[in-house]
């Protein structure tokens, strides 16, 4: 049980997908101007991640042992299909949410965090529960990074910054500080 807990916390803060592993940077840069949007995007991502982890475990255990070179293609097909399904579900259950998320949903497909999750899960040989905890931890970590960045950006929009500092240069330097801060989580669960 403590192993599972370590996997979750490690994926969430110690080896945060965005701030330590450089995955999921496209949404991180693009979505992160408003906290509300960031939360919604993050939630959609967690959902897709968990579904992906389960499907990937299934694929790895029963199918890919016989054709390891098809791994990448099958992962990408799975992710694209899952995103499509999630899109249709959200559209049916909550049209308002669907409209708010707009473009961000199909873009989850090209979010390197999801594919990265599948690949890391495979490389580390995680079982079903481990993969699940890994996905939840990684997803929560993404949300954490997104929301932190969004809050900071919302604040800085009203502050007195030199013109050229606005925009992506600032976002990246803030990201550097966040990444440094998160390095402090290393050694969190060690004996």
């Amino acid at each position: 049980m403590s192993d599972l807990f370590w996997i979750l916390i490690s994926a969430m803060v110690v080896n945060n997908f965005t701030l330590a592993l450089f995955l999921g940077l496209c949404p991180f840069m693009g979505v992160s101007a408003r906290v509300a949007t960031a939360l919604r995007m993050g939630a959609a991502n967690i959902f897709v991640m968990v579904l992906t982890a389960v499907t990937v475990w299934f694929l790895n255990t029963f199918v890919l042992a016989y054709a390891p070179y098809l791994r990448l293609i099958s992962f990408i097909v799975v992710i694209a299909s899952l995103v499509q399904i999630v899109e249709m579900t959200i559209k049916k259950l909550s049209p308002t949410l669907f409209r708010e998320l707009g473009i961000f949903l199909p873009l989850i497909t090209t979010n390197c965090a999801i594919l990265g999750l599948a690949i890391f899960q495979t490389n580390r040989g995680y079982g079903f529960l481990e993969g699940l905890f890994f996905a939840v931890g990684a997803g929560l970590g993404l949300v954490l990074a997104l929301v932190l960045m969004a809050s900071i950006r919302q604040q800085t929009e009203l502050s007195d910054l030199p013109g050229l500092a606005r925009g992506m240069g600032l976002v990246l330097i803030v990201a550097a500080s966040l990444s440094m801060a998160f390095m402090g989580f290393a050694g969190l669960l060690s004996s």
Binding site: W6, N15, A65, L70, A186, G187, L189, S190, S191
Partner: protein, 199 residues
């Protein structure tokens, strides 16, 4: 229709490249493993791969079980076919992420005879000293099990003691823990393996 042909061609291309690349990838993997075993068992003449099956060591995987699903240890022999020790791998979370290492164990003397870090993401300049600090690595060339970690400079009174690296306590502690835990798990199997006991 054309999409299907294109898909088929793509698949064929991948299979062709795979068939070409796979033997080289396997060869490299085997070479890396052999080099690591060489390092921790002080250059044995050859080694056997043994599989841990139901609490015993076997020389081949049982029927229907894939090799990669089983835990392995390696038994090294010198030129006169005398066993020199086992090479065992292990991994546990260290400071940043999981540390994987391989170590040599001589059941006759109960000593660890060598250690090599295979994978680590510890902090460069601090934690990564577990692989870069030659003195630390050399501590494992002939040390009594179970290992006990002590702060550097505490003096080496006890043959069980390993000087940990200042500023990399957690990483050092993890290395020691991996070895101790693996020996706790596998020790009885290794100590009682017939070709070794016969010595």
């Amino acid at each position: 229709m054309t999409l299907a042909t294109a898909g088929g061609m793509a698949g064929l291309l991948i299979v062709v490249v795979f068939e070409w690349a796979e033997p080289q990838i396997e060869a490299h993997r085997a070479a890396v493993l052999a080099a690591a075993i060489d390092n921790v068992l002080a250059a044995p003449a050859r080694y056997d791969t043994l599989y841990v099956v139901d609490g015993a060591l076997r020389e081949a995987p049982p029927e229907g079980v894939l090799e990669r699903d089983l835990e392995r240890v390696f038994l090294g022999y010198d030129e006169s076919d005398v066993p020199v020790g086992f090479a065992v791998t292990g991994g546990e979370p260290g400071y940043q992420d999981i540390i994987r290492l391989i170590f040599g164990y001589d059941p006759g003397s109960g000593e660890v005879v060598g250690m090599e870090v295979l994978e680590s993401k510890e902090t460069p300049g601090l934690g990564d000293k577990i692989e870069k600090d030659a003195d630390f690595v050399a501590e494992f060339n002939g040390i009594q099990t179970p290992l006990v970690g002590v702060k550097q400079g505490a003096g080496q009174a006890d043959p069980h003691e390993v000087d940990m690296i200042t500023g990399a306590t957690i990483s050092s502690r993890t290395v020691i823990a991996i070895i101790n835990n693996r020996l706790e798990e596998l020790g009885p199997l290794l100590d009682t393996y017939p070709p070794v006991v016969k010595q």
